[in-house]
């Protein structure tokens, strides 16, 4: 095993990206899941399809469109450059945006099914008893849906750790900024540094295994609670 400082840097960067992305996905995903569950609007099916799309969409499609949107010739890209002085491409923020889109369905879908499992009568009863929105969320929705929400959180994190195509198209492989572990692995293979490549691959393998194992345990607990 060979763990150079560059490897640690890329692994830590991957964790940072996955953590920031996951926090954002909880903040965006929970209200979005609730809205998708409860809205009866006609356009909702299209929105739901759009949210689910990244499951099947080639990452290069996301990478390509983002690269176009981020370009300073584009109004969005120009606005960002005007605001911050640099482009979104090749920046950590740019990768976070890409990752949030890329992992969105992996948060929203488990959130949706978790929230669906809460009996509406329970919410109704709480509301009649005078509980406010916040109390209902913290004391009723969250405790009941916690395993499903946990699944969404772990899946979002794991899926972001596994990101490659979007970052390859958008990142520019800057050490410590956009050169995540999967890109570092790709570079080490091209340099024929198989020892380094093995180290990164093993780290990613163990992390991914542990995360999926955690989800399986969560699911099993939930099933036991139901039966």
């Amino acid at each position: 095993m060979a763990f150079s400082p560059e490897i640690w840097q890329s692994v830590l960067l991957t964790f940072r990206l996955a953590t920031v992305t996951t926090i954002l996905l909880v903040l965006i995903g929970l209200p979005l899941a609730h809205w998708l569950n409860t809205s009866r609007g006609r356009g909702i099916i299209f929105l739901e399809t759009l949210v689910t799309l990244p499951i099947v969409l080639p990452p290069t499609v996301i990478g390509f469109y983002l690269l176009i949107f981020f370009a300073p010739q584009n109004p969005l890209g120009a606005a960002w450059v005007g605001l911050t002085g640099h482009t979104l491409a090749f920046s950590f923020t740019g990768l976070v945006i890409g990752s949030v889109i890329y992992s969105l369905p992996f948060a929203v879908q488990p959130f949706q099914s978790a929230l669906k499992a809460i009996p509406p009568t329970l919410i109704e009863a709480a509301r009649i008893s005078g509980a406010n929105w916040g109390q209902i969320f913290w004391h009723i929705s969250l405790p009941i849906a916690r395993r499903g929400i946990g699944t969404g959180i772990i899946l979002s994190f794991a899926h972001t750790v596994g990101e490659f195509g979007v970052v390859l198209m958008l990142g520019g492989a800057i050490p410590g900024v956009t050169k995540v572990a999967s890109i570092q692995l790709y570079d080490e293979v091209q340099k024929l540094n198989y020892a380094q490549a093995h180290s990164i691959a093993l780290v990613l393998l163990v992390i991914s295994f542990a995360l999926i194992l955690a989800i399986s345990l969560l699911q099993r607990h939930r099933d036991e609670e139901i039966h």
Partner: protein, 249 residues
Amino acid sequence: MRLLLILLAAFAGDLRAGELSVAAASDLVYCLEELHAAFEKEHPAIDLKTSTGSSGNFFAQIKNGAPFDVFLSADVSYPEAVIKAGLADEESLSRYAVGRLVVWATGEKTDISSGLTSLSNAAIKKIAIANPDHAPYGRAAKAALQYFKMWDQVEPKVVYGENIAQTAQFIETGNADAGIVALALVLSPKLAKVGRWVEIPGESYPRLEQAAVVTRRGQDNPASALYIAFLRSAKAREIFDRFGFRLPQ
């Protein structure tokens, strides 16, 4: 039964007789379109399958048994390494062109009139070069910046393209303000009218001698020898000239 036939047909995409698979460095991506059109005109029976990418990537792939007959690198060291690994014949090594480096920018306001030294201007925030770890043009770009003692200063602004074509794409879209690319790319019909370029003096980086080899696998393919001969033909030379490649020694 029908399902089995569909399955078989799906697997039948491998190379057939009369086909030649060419792995080529990304600086050739546009030049190759014309080269291959000319080659197929001369040899209508041969169907060329072209892959482009970074030379280092192809070297790693060939080492792992990639099915390429001919490898056109952007340098000499990767083809030599293929030979050293016993995966190509020494006699097939053929120097076909010498590449040139340019500073390129597409933004209307970006000033690169003083060439490489322009890159240290504060107005240029992101500079794209190819990854020096596995792209010869990236290595040359870094060498040129080091030659002019600019590397330490500009390194924080550098972003790395996976190969020289992606590097050009970063600049073309404007996501990078400027960068260092192959002259062959900016002279291509596709990019000739896009932005401005300034050549980087040849003494500032190791000569970009580009060589081709026929792989062990390609030795059994009679089209390989025809292809190498074509690279040295007057017709090919005329195309290389148009894309700004110098004559190899």
